[in-house]
């Protein structure tokens, strides 16, 4: 296919691969902390950074990183202090960021048009330098997220407990916020500030449909994010659609395809939930139909019930008892 021979398409595919891996690694920590929309908030704040860059003639990416990091740290401080009015404070920060950005950008020459590139992504205009910057920042994010997984997992999973292990929990919380800010600014060229959170969160939600643990969720999300980003860019080159939006649509399609698997898994897990040991019936009642022998792979669901196993079928629970089956 000729489109993929073009250098700018190749650059775009490489950038998509890198951000597709990096965004869900940090996203896993954010989802774990129930801060799925933090990426979105940081993206709003970063708009002001981009606009300041456009106005002053500095690199919008560089200024955006600085502003996004400051914004992310402010969000973390608000979260950590746990004030009841915290979410209102966050709203002030988010909308102040985006409104401020739009006003500042309007002061810069053709700022409003340039801002568009950052709001919705401009992966097809990336230069080799852009790609190198993206790769270095993404490597930093992925490296820290993976190497510090035991510590950062503990901080996200149970912050209070983590403090009693003597870890610098506040510092690690701030580190996660900084990683999120860097990821947002890295991904803003790929999917745009308004869609960045999607690439951080949706692959994690998709991965969860298949996984049981934190580490496996993060690794699966990295694979899902990378495949979605690369195929999104490829699709957009084929049908001439905006790449950022296409990446997000592919992410969503992946989630919709995976969701039934998760639902079936959850239903199976519920069916296999052990029965309470003290809920044995008081009277002894043996099962009527004894022509079937229960056992491994007998076709009936085996569920733990205290010290023995019940076989579940047609609304009955049968337990082996001296050569016959009891109704449990």
């Amino acid at each position: 296919m000729s489109a993929f021979a073009l250098p700018f398409v190749q650059l775009a595919l490489a950038a998509a691969l890198i951000t597709g891996i990096a965004a869900p690694t940090v996203g896993t920590y954010l989802v774990q902390r129930r801060l799925s929309l933090m990426g979105d908030g940081i993206g709003h704040i970063a708009v002001t950074g981009v606009a300041l860059g456009l106005l002053t003639g500095q690199s919008p990416t560089l200024i955006a990183i600085v502003v996004a990091v400051l914004g992310a740290l402010a969000i973390e401080v608000i979260r950590a202090t746990g004030k009841a009015s915290g979410d209102v404070a966050l709203a002030l920060l988010f909308y102040g960021g985006i409104a401020g950005g739009l006003v500042v950008a309007s002061r810069a020459g053709n700022g409003a048009a340039s801002l568009q590139r950052y709001l919705f992504g401009s992966i097809l205009t990336m230069t080799t330098t852009d790609l190198v910057v993206t790769a270095v920042l993404a490597a930093l994010v992925i490296g820290i997220s993976v190497l510090m997984l035991p510590q950062l997992f503990a901080v996200c999973h149970d912050e209070e407990y983590a403090r009693t292990t003597g870890m610098p929990v506040r510092l690690y919380g701030a580190l996660i916020a900084v990683l999120a800010a860097v990821t947002v600014t890295v991904a803003m060229r790929t999917v745009g500030l308004l869609l960045v959170s999607a690439l951080m969160v949706i692959p994690v939600a998709t991965a969860q449909q298949f996984t049981k643990g934190f580490r496996s969720t993060m690794l699966t999300a990295m694979v899902v994010g990378a495949s979605a980003a690369v195929s999104g860019v490829a699709l957009s080159a084929l049908i001439d659609a905006p790449p950022g939006a296409m990446i997000v649509l592919v992410c969503l399609a992946g989630f919709l395809a995976a969701a039934p698997v998760g639902m079936i898994r959850a239903r199976r897990a519920r069916a296999r939930l052990p029965f309470q040991p003290h809920l044995n019936p008081l009277e002894h009642e043996s099962a009527q139909h004894s022509d079937h022998v229960h056992g491994d792979n007998c076709g009936h669901l085996a569920v733990n019930h205290g010290d023995h196993i019940d076989y579940v079928h047609d609304g009955h629970r049968h337990a082996v008892h001296e050569g016959h089956y009891d109704e449990h």
Binding site: D158, T164, G213, H278
Partner: protein
């Protein structure tokens, strides 16, 4: 030597005292139950001992070291209330238990065989080895509580601090928990356990401390019944069965809305 030593500790939020004039000394090997009504300050006291809340006056010492200078956190195993946890991503029992080992792990250092053995041993002692790779959320309440004990065990601590381990756990599992604690005690552990009532733990407990409205009102031999019926003791006043007015304030944000 004392493992926990509180001298004249107070914790004031705003101008409201949550804890006042608390003196408590717990020696190595003691099993102490901390009893009190909802909002009496028992969870606050435990959090102050662990440095999760800072005493506004007085001094907290762990292993004869003032809290601000205390760094040997691997000697302390904290088992919080289950309700304090919330997670958006599944985590396996093994992952949760492994996070207990962090007080002995250096940054970027792999777990190592000592760590792996300690974690396997911790899972073994709470009888959850077979569930190690299942999601934590799929465990029953009692099993989750045991997993949290295993997490505390993973660091091989000398002092265990448990906050209401029986909350939301049925009687059979309460007995299983008591049996687990008995093993720890037989190995020489020092235990401070916050309880609503002694229940299945009664045979293990050497000493009970009753806290009421932020003050220690009883410290001595175990009371055979729940603290609510100790009116025959030196403290004549009946403890109220409704939480005192200070109750809504006597909670950290993470506890808000949790099981009390």
């Amino acid at each position: 030597m004392s493992v926990i030593e509180l001298s004249d500790c107070a914790l004031v939020v705003g101008s409201r005292p949550l804890l006042s004039r608390v003196n408590l000394s717990i020696s190595r090997g003691e099993v102490v139950a901390l009893l009190g009504d909802n909002g009496s300050g028992k969870s606050t006291l435990v959090k102050m001992i662990l440095g999760l809340r800072t005493a506004t006056s007085g001094q907290v010492r762990l292993f004869d070291t003032p809290l601000p200078q205390f760094h040997q956190w691997h000697r302390v195993g904290y088992v919080p209330q289950r309700s304090a946890m919330a997670s958006g991503v599944p985590a396996t029992v093994w992952e949760v238990v492994t996070s207990g080992r962090l007080s002995r792990r250096r940054l970027f250092a792999p777990l190592g065989s000592n760590g792996r053995n300690a974690i396997a041993g911790a899972l073994e002692s709470v009888d959850l080895t077979e569930r190690a790779h299942d999601p934590f959320d799929t465990l029953s309440g009692g099993q989750q509580q045991r997993a949290l004990i295993a997490r505390a065990l993973a660091a091989e601590p000398e002092l265990f601090v448990l906050d209401e381990p029986n909350a939301g756990v049925d009687t059979a599992n309460q007995e299983a928990l008591a049996a687990t604690l008995e093993v720890l005690v037989s190995r020489g552990a020092t235990v401070l356990v916050v309880l609503h009532e002694l229940g299945a733990m009664a045979p293990l407990v050497d000493r009970t401390v009753v806290i009421h409205d932020g003050k220690i009102t009883y410290d001595g031999a175990p009371l055979t019944h729940s603290h609510g019926s100790h009116h025959h003791h030196t403290h004549e006043e009946m403890l109220p069965h409704v939480p005192p007015l200070s109750a809504p304030l006597d909670r950290s944000p993470s506890e808000r809305g949790g099981i009390r």
